[in-house]
Symmetry: none
Subunit: 405 residues, 2 copies
């Protein structure tokens, strides 16, 4: 018996470049829970004639991004959709924050999340968030810290929002296994960062020296007169979607985090506007240049997180209205799904499986006549891990060779 | 890329203690096969208005305890329900027999199953079961053997039933990888026990010397004048359900084996009476003190094993009648399932997947309006490994943190 071939290895072996096109439309947090008064979820409440028509011609199912019962964050939700095992493709907190502001990470970078904080004259933390200074003030202070060099390492500092920033340590030889400096409560001094592995000694020393230097620079800037650092992590190495699937992939996403995640797996990130219409129009304009599109709609998730059932319904209806822009392009494969469920009733991401609709001239249609959670329960794709969406899309685009003779 | 996290490791990372409560009601062997005359299984024949009402508000599916086609014993059936991989959580025969009489195993114990047998004057076995002596006689003979010490090892001997007993070797340094002494046919002498690994030499020597001593003690007790030993095994180490799920778990089970299995995974085993009503009343009394209850109903399995379709139907109806005692407590999660199927038509455990019903205010209901095998086929939980029941229960009790950012 040989070694067992894993799923991505199999894709690398079987994938073939071809002119056919795949569009993966991710309606973030699309899955929901029924409103008690009606027994219908957000997706079941929305009037979606175009999605329903596509479901009638396509095949549906329910996907688990990480596993049954597991509520995914946005990062594992998306890595699973792109075919990577979310349980191994771990993306650190600092990296995710950097990705979330569209920061262009280099291979050796270590990123940390930072807070501006307030310390008293004895150096004890009195406010871990420096009174939540404005984003403008944060931006100004970051400019003062940006570009400091410590032991040959350049520290790039960029604002995130309010008191939050990222510090990216660039210079090589840095290993991110270090503790954090945030004492997690007031009345204590920032904690000295220590190495959790022998190789991480340099990172710990550099981080501590940077914190001291930052304290000097910020001395006169009460309440933001010190920094706290945590979530040290390095840029994860993903084999690119081109290496795995032989695709020329493009991402259309108005939110920075999703652009960043797409960049990590080797997609070209296209310029687009803030609305759903902008994103669909970008798809149309760049349609000839790529054979795989990841199109990300954020507003469903935001509405779900806000607990706004009706707004989530409206966003789904908005997606339905522009859908003909996509179907009119006649890609060989259209997948409509989410990276996780975000039921308005829970005001949060949830573990509930995510509706999936796949249309292709080569699919085997099921009996579903609408795109809804309850129709997906008995859909032809069954219940399956979200990591299988890419192999299914590739197969339906006739981009996979036969396995074995 | 990190190392892949396994399912229990993930539960350890994500589980959070909270006041919400989970009740896992295991109706042993609940799954069945249709009676040819009606085309309806035991569960489908039973009148179960309360279970059906719960199914209407809940979500159903079919679980495989070990895997499709695999008929589980009670031990793997239950370890899977508690979330442990039944293919790695191996419980030896001797240990299971000890657990089955509620014997309180210590960490270093090695347990073996024993038979009283008959040997002739040349020492050849003439009856491997000593004419199936009465349980009373077995008990008396066990008292004579109990407490013998061999090479510093104490041998604890306890009756099971008829000619069967357990021998527990307590004293440390014992490794259970040894052969058995049962020749498996008459006309041969008991086989000398040998070590299967170098470390097991002491165990083999002790077991053989114990058998010789037992023969001396039993010399005048024809037909039970010798012992045969097999199934040497050590107490398995399970991480407790408290370590994994941060639960305070309690078991309510009138049959010793299920109490023993619960103890192996760290549950508090509550005193209860022999009837289903007793068990539900114990649940009510101890409801405040725990956040997880495993409630075990044995009589369905016994009826199935006896091939008594109608009796199994009646036991299911009895469970349905007392169900309001449970639902009235309003736990955040109720799971009703079995550890395996026991179709009366087969008079045995079977490989058929097991009906699962999960109710929680946070579940996404499916279209099922009754609890039955055929409704479960199209239920919202789909078909899934039984080891996922605990992650699902934990998620619906809002006891799991989000995975990844």
């Amino acid at each position: 018996m040989g070694t067992r071939v894993d799923s991505l290895e199999l894709m690398k072996q079987l994938s073939r470049s071809s002119p056919s096109k795949i569009v993966l439309l991710v309606v973030d947090g699309i899955g929901g829970l029924p409103r008690p008064e009606t027994g219908r979820t957000e997706l079941e409440t929305a009037r979606t004639p175009n999605l329903d028509a596509l479901a009638s011609r396509g095949v549906s199912g329910l996907a688990d991004p990480v596993g049954p019962g597991i509520t995914p964050g946005s990062a594992p939700g998306h890595t699973a959709l792109f075919g990577y095992d979310p349980l191994t493709a771990d993306i650190g907190r600092g990296i995710l924050e950097a990705v979330g502001i569209d920061f262009d990470l280099q291979p050796q970078d270590v990123a940390a999340r930072g807070n501006f904080c307030t310390v008293d004259s004895s150096g004890l933390v009195t406010d871990r968030r420096a009174g939540r200074i404005s984003t403008e003030e944060c931006t100004e202070l970051c400019q003062q810290l940006d570009g400091l060099t410590v032991d040959g390492v350049t520290v790039i500092v960029r604002p995130v929002r309010e008191h939050r920033f990222i510090a990216v340590f660039r210079g090589g030889g840095l290993v991110p296994q270090v503790t954090e400096s945030d004492p997690q409560q007031v009345g204590l001094a920032p904690v000295t960062i220590t190495a959790l592995s022998p190789a991480a000694g340099k990172m710990a020393a550099v981080a501590n020296r940077f914190a001291v230097r930052a304290g000097e620079v910020l001395a006169g800037h009460y309440p933001a007169n010190m920094v706290l650092l945590r979530g040290f992590s390095e840029k994860p190495h993903f084999e690119t979607m081109t290496e795995i699937y032989k695709l020329k992939p493009a991402a259309i996403a108005s939110y920075p985090m999703y652009r960043g995640l797409s960049r990590l797996v080797g997609m070209d990130v296209l310029d687009t506007g803030p609305t759903i219409e902008d994103e669909f129009s970008t798809l149309k304009q760049s349609y000839a240049a790529y054979d795989f599109f990841f199109l990300h709609v954020k507003a469903t998730d935001s509405a779900g997180e806000d607990g706004d059932f009706d707004r989530k319904v409206k966003v789904i209806e908005q997606v339905d209205e522009v859908l003909p822009e996509l179907t009119g392009l006649e890609p060989e494969v259209i997948v409509v799904t989410g990276d996780h469920s975000t039921p308005a009733l829970l005001k949060a991401h949830s573990w509930h499986p995510v509706p999936v609709l796949l249309y292709s001239p080569w699919c085997r249609p099921d009996r579903a006549t609408e795109f809804s959670e309850s129709a997906c329960v008995v859909g032809g794709l069954g219940r399956f891990p979200a990591t299988q969406i890419m192999p299914l899309a590739m197969a339906h685009a006739l981009k996979l060779a036969k396995f074995g003779a």
